[in-house]
């Protein structure tokens, strides 16, 4: 926190190096949110630039009472939301029935190739997360990768805490089932 303040003050007085340190410190957070929300790599690059340009421009308005990570996450989330809106992508979708349907079909008749495939769990997880609506992806990212509290996530995404909790619960429930069904019978629990 104290180090953040020094870096912010130096950035405001025109020190490019200080701003670069801030970017390095919070770059991971921004990359996590952007790449979970924006699946197209080229678009994600643009959004990443946009976010840090906005952070730079808004820095004089940042109040130190709030947490830098929450503030940057909010800017990042809003930038992604605006981008998805421009691209007319569904933002507020739900975990659909159709998803569940597809899942059941695959459980009933897993292809031999799929069963033989030894797919890395992280890769499989990313694929499954990618099928979810952006809001669910972001909740998972902020909670599990950034260790944010429900309240912080609610603040970043401008959602009620209850919605954050239920999004998290439902997303994990779906992911658990999907990973279980793809990981061979010995781990598939009835």
């Amino acid at each position: 926190m104290a180090e953040d303040r020094i870096l912010i003050e130096e950035s405001l007085s025109g020190d490019q190096e200080a701003f670069r340190s801030l970017v390095n410190r919070y770059g991971g957070l921004v990359v996590h949110i952007v790449h979970r929300m924006i699946r197209n790599a080229a678009d994600a690059e643009d959004v990443y630039q946009d976010v840090f340009l906005k952070v730079y421009q808004a820095l004089p308005r940042f109040r130190l009472e709030s947490k830098m990570s929450t503030w940057i996450a909010t800017i990042t989330y809003n930038t992604c939301v605006n981008h998805l809106r421009k691209k007319k992508e569904v933002l507020l979708g739900d975990l659909t029935e159709e998803n569940e349907e597809g899942m059941r079909l695959r459980t009933d008749c897993p292809s031999p190739v799929e069963r033989a495939e030894r797919v890395d769990i992280a890769e499989r997880l990313e694929t499954e997360i990618g099928k979810m609506p952006p809001q669910f992806r972001t909740v998972l990212t902020l909670f599990h990768l950034e260790d944010m509290t429900y309240r912080e996530i609610a603040q970043v995404m401008n959602l009620p805490e209850g919605t954050v909790k239920s999004h998290l619960f439902r997303a994990r429930k779906l992911l658990r089932r999907r990973l279980a069904e793809r990981y061979g019978e010995e781990e598939l629990v009835p």
């Binding site: 950035s11 701003f19 991971g28 990359v31 690059e45 840090f52 340009l53 820095l59 990768l145 629990v189």
Partner: protein, 174 residues
């Protein structure tokens, strides 16, 4: 015997060890089905906290950042042009205000004398402005009103740009 729900198992992992309900603990100890689900959830949680899959994104982000610097430089020149236009706008606004003030008769004798002197210095500019006003007047009062409104808006935006937002621009230019 009722199995634990997904919600109960997730809450068990999320919660502090001290606040875990003893009956949930007891069920997990004796039920292979629920303890299996718990194991799966634990695996999911650790996979979700792993950011290995972001490595390629980090590389692309670094590349994007080097381009960010170029964009900052490009914006400086544009900013200067904007400042020049805004300054011209304010100078114009002041001239018009002065002209309108004197045209309406101005205040007391002392000031009128001062304005008369100023008018001599500003006469070329005032002439052209008057010509402009006459032209607008002949087109019609409505058009004159619209032109004036646009001008006032432009002046307000210029003032905002020069006086209110310099700190924000300073941050952009570094």
């Amino acid at each position: 015997m009722r199995h634990l729900t997904d919600e109960e198992i997730q809450a068990y992992i999320d919660g502090e060890a001290a606040s875990r309900p003893p009956q949930v603990e007891a069920h997990l100890a004796e039920c292979p089905v629920c303890s299996g689900v718990l194991r799966e959830y634990r695996r999911l949680y650790s996979a979700l906290a792993n950011d290995r899959c972001f490595a390629p994104s980090f590389l692309r982000a670094t590349k994007a950042l080097s381009e960010l610097r170029l964009r900052e430089k490009a914006e400086t020149g544009w900013d200067r042009a904007e400042t020049a236009v805004a300054t011209l706008g304010i100078a114009g606004a002041l001239a018009v205000a002065l002209w309108a003030y004197t045209a309406l008769g101005g205040p007391g004798a002392g000031l009128t004398e001062f304005l008369a002197t100023s008018r001599r210095y500003l006469s070329p500019a005032l002439e052209s402005l008057r010509a402009l006003a006459n032209a607008a007047g002949s087109v019609g009062a409505e058009v004159g009103l619209v032109v004036t409104a646009c001008f006032v808006l432009y002046v307000i935006l210029s003032l905002d740009y020069l006086l209110v937002r310099p700190s924000a621009r300073q941050a952009t230019n570094g």
